[in-house]
């Protein structure tokens, strides 16, 4: 699997992401600086990792999505069907770039949330979930201040009708409760895909649950599934 991880000034999760991808696929991802205007040839996957790109100034992910020189190439690749995954700050960028609907607002609690959460995996009919079983419950960490997913009701209904909500916050038994929702996201949404199914954004960090020494391997099937899809 040929992967590029985009590094923005203020990104800080690119190395964890590289470790997870290499563990799952055996291939070392390329790290591409945001100031480049071209991506490596023949990519299977582009990752926008977590962090605080451009200091999160203006709005989280806004300057990266709209003004970083590499972004037109990312948008172009997404349009050609290359898999694109945005995690945390990367999810914020994908919404700001218009590749995914909605916006990530300040957490309803106004607090930065840094803890493990449980996610309900809706189905495995996606390259991002193919190595999970439908309705599986996984445990992964979140670490964000702006993860409160917001979109208009009509789009929410469409996302659900088209099975584009892949991950939702749930309790350890898989129930979609308000207590299990760390940030106030509408309908407990933690991760979605675009209409074509090749662009996925999620707030939690699957890359930080890929070794038993980290406390679990709930994130590993996501990367293994992508490697299999490549």
């Amino acid at each position: 699997m040929k992967t590029a991880i985009i590094l923005f000034p203020g990104t800080n999760r690119e190395r964890d992401m590289a470790v997870a991808l290499e563990r799952a696929s055996g291939a070392k991802p390329a790290i591409v600086w945001h100031g480049e205007t071209e991506l490596p040839q023949g990519l299977d996957l582009i990752v926008l990792p977590g962090g605080f790109a451009h200091g999160d100034y203006l709005r989280c992910g806004a300057i990266a999505a709209n003004a970083s020189p590499i972004m037109p190439a990312v948008v172009n690749a997404a349009g050609r069907g290359v898999h694109v995954m945005g995690v945390c700050n990367g999810f914020q960028m994908l919404t700001e770039a218009g590749l995914l609907p909605g916006a990530l607002m300040r957490n309803a609690s106004l607090k930065f949330v840094c803890r493990d959460v449980h996610l309900h995996v809706a189905h495995n009919d996606s390259p991002f979930t193919r190595n999970y079983t439908p309705n599986e419950v996984i445990r992964v960490p979140v670490a964000h201040g702006d993860g409160n997913y917001f979109v208009d009701e009509q789009t929410l209904d469409a996302l659900e009708a088209e099975a584009r909500v892949l991950f939702r916050y749930c309790d350890d038994a898989g129930a979609l409760t308000e207590d299990a929702n760390p940030n106030g996201s509408q309908r407990n949404i933690a991760g979605i895909v675009n209409e074509a199914g090749n662009v996925m954004g999620m707030m939690p960090h699957p890359e930080d649950m890929v070794e038993h020494t980290f406390g679990g391997i709930g994130g590993l099937p996501l990367f293994e599934g992508l490697a299999k899809a490549a």
Binding site: A103, A108, S109, N148, G184
Partner: protein, 83 residues
């Protein structure tokens, strides 16, 4: 003689504003009464080189659409003043 543009960005109606809520609560705690609701936004000031108001407005509105506001959740308003 340039122009100064003042861009006011606010959350759309119906978009939850937890910061506004927190400010509202704090005002109540301080004993200030008579506040029905609080919404927090931001102001961005731009010093422009040109002096043509129509061109300036068009240009600043393009900046708002592209970067300064996220029109999924925010409204913006542009005011121009002689600098």
């Amino acid at each position: 003689m340039g122009l100064k543009a003042i861009v006011t960005v606010t959350l759309k109606n119906g978009v939850l504003d937890p910061q506004g809520k927190a400010i509202h609560g704090a005002l109540g705690n301080l004993g200030f009464e008579g506040v029905d609701d609080v919404r927090q936004g931001k102001i961005i000031e731009l010093d422009l080189t040109g002096s043509n108001e129509d061109e300036a407005r068009k240009s600043v509105e393009a900046m708002c659409e592209k970067l300064l506001a996220n029109t999924v959740i925010e409204n913006y308003r542009v005011e121009l003043h002689s600098a």
